[in-house]
Symmetry: C2
Subunit: 331 residues, 2 copies
């Protein structure tokens, strides 16, 4: 009997889901709009119906073992989504309990970057590594830490929010309520803001002057940079410099073997990796220089967030002797 | 038969050692100068002789099980001290091997703040906690992380150097070769530098104007602050503000239950805790606010570094099934 898991990636715009086997093959997948429902209960109903159809359509003998969910501010211990700044629902949503009730399956929730980190460990470029960091560069900047071979969840289940470390306390406004957070500079939205800042401050011609803020995408900026657009090139240089400076701080916290960059911005190759590595090394405490690799994720494809989320279930089942997940009292 | 361990704390000025029992009682202790020997081999000879006398003088039936050493830049995996900026010896010193040869005992080395963290977990205020941070405020600023109930050593054995995260890239010169590191502001030396900066910039009378940089101690600054000296008070406010701002960044990395402050500066009570907590909360990503305690170490006494170092041995023996320490290949 084929054993399968459901992986769900709740993004700021779309929710992607898929049925995944042990080897990381996505048997089938689909998506619904995250923002297309006014109320959370309507969204959950829509998602449940879509999943039910997906499960019903699985061919052959099989057993679905659990649901893994990656979502901004997903809380691993509580199984909740807590005040996610990039999602339309307010308050604390008991998503794991809802999935358990609806499907009678164990449900594991964590933030999307933690899901990516477990995915990287189970299926990606971090196989065999015990200490690494995954930085997800999407609408925001997420991070997931593995240390001593374990996902680092923290006391309250919310470890790994380096997107909200400070670049400049008087800097850009952030969804989280603070100013100058790393993700306001380094993310799909961050680099757009940088492009607009550069267009405002400088006189250089740029093909990006013809594109509205709403229409501008990371892909357009990358393509313009590849064509030699000075503003696009400067935007990548600036983004990499800030990411490198802040990664130098993250490195001295947990001393990882590697930092993996995942998502839109990381697909720009040298445009982002070169300045990031250069400024990380320049800002590192000398003891750490030359020791920490900055690499592209090994899961750079559309299905990666689904695979990452599904890997939460395998990781959970493989560590079922570790009762910490269910028994930990939350302060 | 009484089981005992040797705890050694190699500080920038003095090396303290003691014989410690399972309950954390220091049976006997002593110290030698760290800086009084030109060559490392002479220092090691002096230390070995002192330890041999200490061991010979232990009354009753007993067995010494191992040596634990806390030292700046102590590398847990390699058992070395690597280019420690606060110690007089250059290069990489294979201290664990030297102790093993000299005393035929297992020797565990880690940086002094990691030793403090294990001590806090075994004997101190972090008993039963699985996720916490210890910040040691001595000549420099050290940090030790426990996550998922384990000391976080990192890939290269050098995790936890938050003293070398950046406050201001163009700021004060640091022993590590960079500028503006946290420990140049928040440490015994850091607060002295702040006092001198304030005395230079402002006109306020202060009893600290009569004391030379070399003679000024944290204790003098604390006593002046208690008497209402405006410069001393402002120095503590400034130090706590910077510590709080940077702790807000550390918190979002590992999501600890508590942060313990240990050492000289932390003995100033409200003078340091109040501004630290206030500015940590103000700079925290809102999701984390009100969740993380900032507390004094439970090992606030002279023998704490020795107890912390000795606890490395107990922790090692208790986790002897974890062969990671000896088998890990170092990249």
């Amino acid at each position: 009997m084929r054993e399968l898991t459901i992986g769900i990636d709740i993004g700021g715009t779309n929710t992607k889901y898929g049925i995944v086997d042990r080897a990381g093959n996505v048997i089938s997948h689909g998506s619904i709009s995250t923002t297309g429902y006014q109320e959370f209960k309507d969204y959950f109903k829509g998602l449940s119906e879509a999943l039910r159809k997906e499960i019903a359509a699985i061919p052959g003998e099989h057993k679905v073992l659990g649901v893994g969910v990656g979502a901004a501010n997903g809380n691993y211990y509580k199984g909740t989504i807590e005040r996610a700044t990039n999602l339309p629902w307010k308050g604390i949503i008991p998503l794991a309990d809802m999935f358990r009730e609806e499907f009678d399956l164990p449900a594991i929730i964590t933030n999307d970057a933690n899901a990516a980190a477990v995915g990287e460990m189970v299926y990606g470029a971090a196989k065999g590594m015990r200490d690494f960091v995954v930085i997800t560069l999407g609408t925001g900047l997420g991070s997931g830490f593995v240390a001593n071979g374990q996902l680092l969840n923290g006391k309250h289940g919310i470890a790994g929010e380096v997107g909200h470390t400070s670049v400049n306390p008087a800097g850009r406004f952030c969804n989280c309520g603070k100013r100058g957070c790393l993700e306001t500079y380094v993310s799909a939205t961050g680099i757009k803001r940088t492009v607009y800042k550069l267009l405002a401050d400088h006189l250089e011609p740029s093909e990006l002057r013809g594109i509205s803020f709403d229409n501008l995408t990371t892909k357009m900026i990358t393509e313009a940079a590849v064509r030699g657009d000075v503003v696009a090139l400067a935007a990548y240089e600036y983004t990499g410099r800030i990411l490198g400076m802040k990664l130098a701080e993250t490195v001295v916290h947990t001393d990882p073997e590697a930092i993996f960059l995942f998502g839109g911005l990381s697909l720009a190759g040298d445009l982002i990796f070169k300045p990031t590595i250069k400024h990380m090394e320049a800002n590192l405490m000398p003891l750490f220089r030359g020791k920490v690799k900055v690499l592209p994720s090994g899961l750079q494809n559309q299905a990666a967030p689904i695979i990452g989320a599904s890997s939460l279930v395998w990781n959970y089942l493989d560590n079922a002797h570790n009762t910490h997940l269910t028994e930990e009292a939350i302060a």
